[in-house]
């Protein structure tokens, strides 16, 4: 049975990271070039890691399925990045960011990791500013901040509504300079379809070239996965279309435990789906909740235009229920309440699947020009998508899957339980517990890549100085290559009747219905019978045309959907086993009389890590107990 050792250093929380940096083994500068590190994924986490490792002298090979690293999904983040700089003099500190993150995560994260995240947040902003990331500035030339996602301090740094884009370009450019210098070799359009493990250690990966179909082995001294989240298990999400769980899932099948797959964040402010053809959902930045008021008509049959409905007939459900926080309650609370009113039949829009986010009051108060300056690009985006003008009539919004807190289990060094295999960024589970605070994912991705892994990886590598990477003609590689090739070609032989997208959409419907914003035993059990049935049908009846030896987007997608089909089942089982509500995991059976999430710290204060037992047996649960020595768990209350 797998045992998980988080390897949290001893000492007071504020000293752990310093102590640890002092105690980890180091690789001497001249020896670093003798180590080859494979970095899979070139989003914020992967690009920052690849650049930093190469700057240290390691030989890095970076892999992405995209044509260019600049396309990684991190590019889409709008709102901002947190850091405990306290530039606003408003009482922020490393400890406060730590405290807020542990509390926001509903006491399901590891304190030591969160504290370190909060510490290195300071360095991230320095690093990015030095790279020329064009953060918003005050007239005096110093950095601007805003309060984000209901935080009580202004600690969010931003670059217009394109923070993720600018941070990713910074990391991509740092990596580009290392490519030019020869420290990083980039493999683009390389789809990683397996992780190679030999004698219990990660020794390489198998890729498929998305242009030629060539399947190839790559070996290294360590493998780093920075492959993003699994939100597309819902089919409809705010993630980019090609985001997937494949690399993490294949690592799981090779022995890496997968932690807390049921934790998913549903973002409250997205544009509602408009029809079957809908391929993805678009996020409207959370910052809109600073000024917009959320409501639905009180009367189910009220067919009047929004502007014609008087205040008495409007139900400002967040403001009424949570007078202190109003429209700025945390994401999970805002989302669930929107679902409640829509389920009650109070939804608005042609499909009655949204709630209003209304700017009439702020426009009346500050004028259209001020609103345009603040949110112009978001309003334009809304109009482009819906054909409606939000200056004239309220936006319609509804929650959508946005971020996944679960992921590969990692220890304090960001290493999975498979030695030599690391997981960074959204694809690990480490820092956000059961719910992530706004503007903290970008922070975590860059913390992991710039400031954590470069320190911790030496601990694993140092003793391997005399070892060459396992050659790619080793039987372990040959077997993995053959498996990937067979699996890929196998799809073409099915000659079924329904497209890959069809099955992905069907899977998404089940997962959203029964394991979305609110879950209950009956629904989860239903999902547990429906998902395997759908998977069987998919594996027998999917239709993939074309060839395996050239560009074939259906073939790219079918492997990913296949992995989602397995992952979805584990996600539902995890949700079923967790008999409590916490953060983004809301079990209807476990709520306070006021309808808020009710945790069970006595029985569920642990990380649920699932251990693969082979294709025909369910994963086994391995628990990492969570202890809270610094932040005392309390019931979250936003009244």
């Amino acid at each position: 049975m797998t045992v998980l050792d988080a390897r949290v250093p001893e000492g007071p929380i504020a000293d752990k990271w310093d102590n640890h940096k002092f105690s980890v083994k180091l690789v001497n500068p001249a020896n670093k070039r003798r180590f080859k590190i494979l970095v899979v994924g070139t989003g914020l986490a992967g690009a920052s890691a690849a650049a930093s490792l190469a700057e240290l002298g390691y030989k890095v090979e970076a892999f992405t399925f995209h044509d260019s690293p600049r396309r990684a999904h991190s590019i889409a983040a709008q709102g901002g990045i947190n850091a405990a700089k306290n530039y606003r003099n408003d009482g922020d500190s490393v400890y406060r960011l730590f405290y807020d993150t542990v509390k926001g995560g509903d006491y399901r994260s590891r304190e030591a990791n969160v504290y370190r995240l909060s510490q290195v947040s300071l360095n991230i902003i320095d690093q990015c500013a030095a790279q020329g990331v064009p953060f918003a500035r005050e007239y005096g030339g110093l950095l601007a901040n805003r309060s984000f996602g209901g935080a009580q301090v202004s600690r969010t740094f931003y670059a217009r509504g394109q923070t993720g884009q600018q941070l990713l370009l910074g990391a991509y450019q740092a990596m580009a300079s290392q490519i030019a210098a020869g420290g990083v070799t980039l493999h683009n359009r390389a789809d990683v379809l397996d992780i190679v493990v030999k004698d219990g250690e990660a020794v390489g990966i198998v890729t498929r070239d998305l242009l030629t179909g060539e399947v190839r082995a790559h070996s290294g001294h360590a493998v780093v996965l920075a492959t993003g989240g699994y939100g597309n298990v819902y089919y409809l999400s705010t993630n980019a279309m090609n985001c997937n769980v494949t690399a993490a899932w294949r690592a799981h099948r090779r022995g890496a435990t997968f932690a807390n797959p049921c934790y998913t964040q549903i973002h409250p402010t997205c544009i509602p789906a408009s029809d079957e053809f809908q391929s993805k959902l678009t996020l409207m930045s959370e910052s809109l909740r600073n000024d917009g008021r959320i409501w639905v008509p009180r009367n189910m049959d009220d067919a009047r235009a929004a502007a014609d409905i008087g205040d008495a007939d409007r139900y400002y459900f967040l403001e009424e229920k949570y007078p202190a926080f109003g429209n700025l309650v945390p994401r999970d609370v805002a989302s669930r309440n929107a679902k409640t009113v829509v389920d009650q039949g109070l939804g608005v829009g042609p499909l009655r699947n949204g709630v209003y986010l209304d700017f009439a009051d702020v426009i009346a108060r500050d004028g259209e020009q001020v609103v345009r300056e603040k949110y112009g690009n978001l309003f334009d985006m809304y109009e482009r998508i819906t054909g409606e003008n939000p200056y004239r009539s309220p936006m319609r919004i509804y929650p959508a899957t946005h971020y996944t807190m679960g992921g590969l289990w990692v220890d304090y060094n960001l290493m999975t339980n498979v030695p030599g295999l690391y997981a960074l960024g959204e694809c690990n589970f480490s820092d956000h517990g059961a719910n992530r605070l706004g503007a903290s994912a970008l922070m975590q991705g860059l913390a992991d890549g710039y400031f954590v892994l470069p320190y911790t990886i030496g601990d694993y590598l140092a003793p391997k100085l005399a070892e060459a990477p396992v050659p790619t003609d080793d039987p372990a590689f040959a077997a993995a290559v053959a498996e990937v090739d067979d699996r890929t070609r196998g799809w073409l032989a099915k000659r079924g009747t329904r497209s890959v997208d069809h099955y992905h959409r069907e899977l998404g419907k089940i997962v959203w219905e029964y394991c979305g914003m609110a879950r209950n035993r009956t629904g989860l059990e239903k999902a547990l019978s429906e998902i395997p049935a759908l998977r069987e049908e998919f594996r027998a009846n999917v239709k993939v045309l074309g060839s395996a030896d050239s560009t074939n987007q259906s073939l790219e997608q079918v492997n990913r959907v296949d992995d989602f089909m397995e992952m979805a089942e584990l996600k539902v089982r995890d949700a079923l086993h967790r008999e409590e509500s916490c953060g983004g995991h809301f079990r209807e059976e476990h709520q306070t009389p006021e309808g808020e999430a009710l945790r069970d710290d006595e029985n569920f204060a642990y990380v649920a890590a699932w251990d693969w037992q082979g294709p025909d047996r369910p994963q086994e649960l391995v628990k990492e107990p969570l202890t809270f020595e610094n932040v005392k768990p309390t019931q979250r209350s936003y009244k």
């Binding site: 044509d67 260019s68 690293p69 590019i75 064009p134 953060f135 670059a159």
Partner: protein
């Protein structure tokens, strides 16, 4: 059509739900070295609320039903930021709507019965991969040649030690908004990449942090660009096609910095 609908709950709204019938002519090409040609598709029942790429999704689903391989097209974020998408729509990169990437273009911009010709971006340095997908790796080469500020991890001073005047930061951000889609190249009669390159130079070369490498960067990026792409003859088609409305002013910055760089770099070289 009024855009302010305020249409309340009912489906009545402002024409939501209308369906279009379109005559599509779509470029098909099996691979980089294969001959290409148009496929005519009678696309009926296309919801006007769907995006251009969702329209292609619908067409692809139907092709698959008919055992025809679906059309390959590049896409990812579908919200106008990753720069992956981009096709020629009736001869215009990203289609008829200004400041809009292909993925953000919606079918309500077309009329029932319209003929739409869909082709890949055409430029010698963007070889066709398959159907509507092209290879834009040459852009990465330009960035690798100097499109960065060298600041190895861990060396940075406190972020507020380098004040940047707000208007300079805003100017840099205007340039940095480029998504690397390549529409500027596809729009240019000479397939020049001046706008893309100028956007990155404009971003980095105006910032205080960018000064130490300014001249080296200008020379290296421009020369790498010239090794892949055609020359700029100031047509201005690029900025018209650009989904982020990157301004021609940045090309002026590029030209100025490049000229100065040639002089300065020569002088520096002669001193050593």
């Amino acid at each position: 059509m009024s855009t302010g609908n305020g249409s309340g709950r009912g489906a009545a709204g402002n024409g939501h739900g209308a369906r279009l019938r379109l005559k599509l002519r779509i470029w098909r090409q099996a691979g980089p070295d294969e001959p290409g040609g148009f496929l005519d598709v009678d696309a009926h029942d296309i919801p006007e609320d769907c995006s251009f790429l969702e329209m292609l999704d619908i067409v692809n689903e139907r092709l698959i039903d008919d055992d025809i391989e679906p059309i390959t097209f590049a896409h990812d974020c579908r919200e106008g930021i990753c720069g992956t998408c981009g096709v020629m729509i009736n001869g215009r990169p990203h289609g008829p709507e200004s400041a809009t990437a292909t993925c953000q273009l919606h079918m309500r911009k077309f009329r029932d019965g319209d003929e739409i010709v869909i082709e890949p971006f055409r430029a010698a340095s963007f070889p066709v991969v398959k159907d509507l997908m092209v290879d834009r790796r040459a852009f990465d080469r330009i960035i690798e040649s100097g499109g960065y500020i060298s600041a190895p991890t861990g060396t940075a001073p406190d972020a507020n030690e380098i004040p940047v005047p707000k208007d300079v930061a805003d100017f840099a951000m205007d340039a940095a908004a480029c998504i690397g889609c390549g529409a500027c190249v596809a729009a240019c009669p000479n397939s020049a990449a001046q706008l893309f390159t100028a956007a990155k130079l404009g971003h980095l070369n105006v910032l205080p942090q960018g000064q130490p490498e300014r001249w080296r960067r200008a020379e290296a990026m421009v020369e790498t660009m010239e090794s892949f792409f055609g020359s700029c003859t100031n047509h201005g088609e690029c900025t018209e096609a650009c989904p982020k409305e990157i301004s021609l002013d940045f090309i002026a910055v590029l030209n100025r910095d490049y000229l100065k760089a040639k002089v300065k770099n020569r002088r520096l070289a002669s001193q050593t």
